[in-house]
Symmetry: C2
Subunit: 161 residues, 2 copies
């Protein structure tokens, strides 16, 4: 019982937006991953499959930009999905530097299958957090994720170049 007092009242997350968002991301990741259960996919992987499905057959660069993810990070994250045959890389016809990602039939089926679980998780989130508030939060987060925001952040205050 020693530590039970746990001065949880105070924490960096109350002052630091970066800490706050990472902390919440860990929690939510936990919750959604649990919801994915034994499907064999993590929340991140499901997001990736879904976004690929949405874009059709985007180049790695395009997908990375959409996910606000480093290109090489995307490459690494895709590895397990490639290994398991859920996605495949096809060289672009016009530009031979480019590789496009797309779902395999298996990947397409898997995405659809797991979507049911995801919907349930999202439903729970909306129910607990509030549907409108939930939508608003996603808009806010999308704003923070935008290149315009990054640019503004980088140039605000100093830097009169």
């Amino acid at each position: 019982m020693a530590d039970t007092i746990d001065n949880d009242e105070d924490g960096v997350w109350l002052y630091c937006s970066n800490s706050a968002i990472r902390r919440a991301a860990r929690q939510l990741g936990q919750l959604y991953d649990d919801a994915m259960g034994d499907s064999g996919l993590k929340g991140t992987q499901f997001s990736l499959l879904s976004q690929i499905r949405l874009l059709g057959a985007p180049s790695l660069k395009t997908l990375a930009n959409a996910m606000v993810m480093d290109l090489s990070a995307l490459g690494h994250t895709l590895k397990p999905l490639l290994r398991d045959g859920l996605v495949e890389l096809v060289p672009d016809e016009q530009d031979r530097r480019v590789k496009r990602v797309r779902l395999t039939p298996v990947g397409r089926a898997k995405q659809k299958e797991v979507a049911t679980r995801w919907k349930e998780a999202q439903r729970r989130f909306d129910e607990v957090f509030g549907e409108d508030r939930s939508a608003e939060l996603r808009r806010t987060l999308a704003l923070i994720s935008s290149p315009e925001f990054a640019k503004a952040f980088a140039t605000t205050g100093s830097d009169p170049s």
Copy 2:
């Protein structure tokens, strides 16, 4: 130019709160890490140092709970900080299972030094996003990170046990 059209309008992050928050976390992580510059610390590490400083000499369990982080994950994340002599583990007197983490003098100095950079990043965030809105966002994220939220999420809807 092929891909320039980039149908950025649509994305899973508009529907999935988990995707949305992870995406924003990546962006913000990027921004804060850039701000940390050559300090040698990543945003995550600075958060950890700051939280340890705030709690004094918490047990790993206590710190993990506060950060909403898996105990073993915390252990791993602490490795580089231990290696670099910024933090140290001291066995608890009463309970020999427990180890407490605390900043070393070097760690304390480093935290203080980097805090300047962090403040600038936070200032930029507040300036671009809005100070009040920023504070409100942190409160919202803290709510999502709370054990009460997790419990509500886990029991909402079904599960009448």
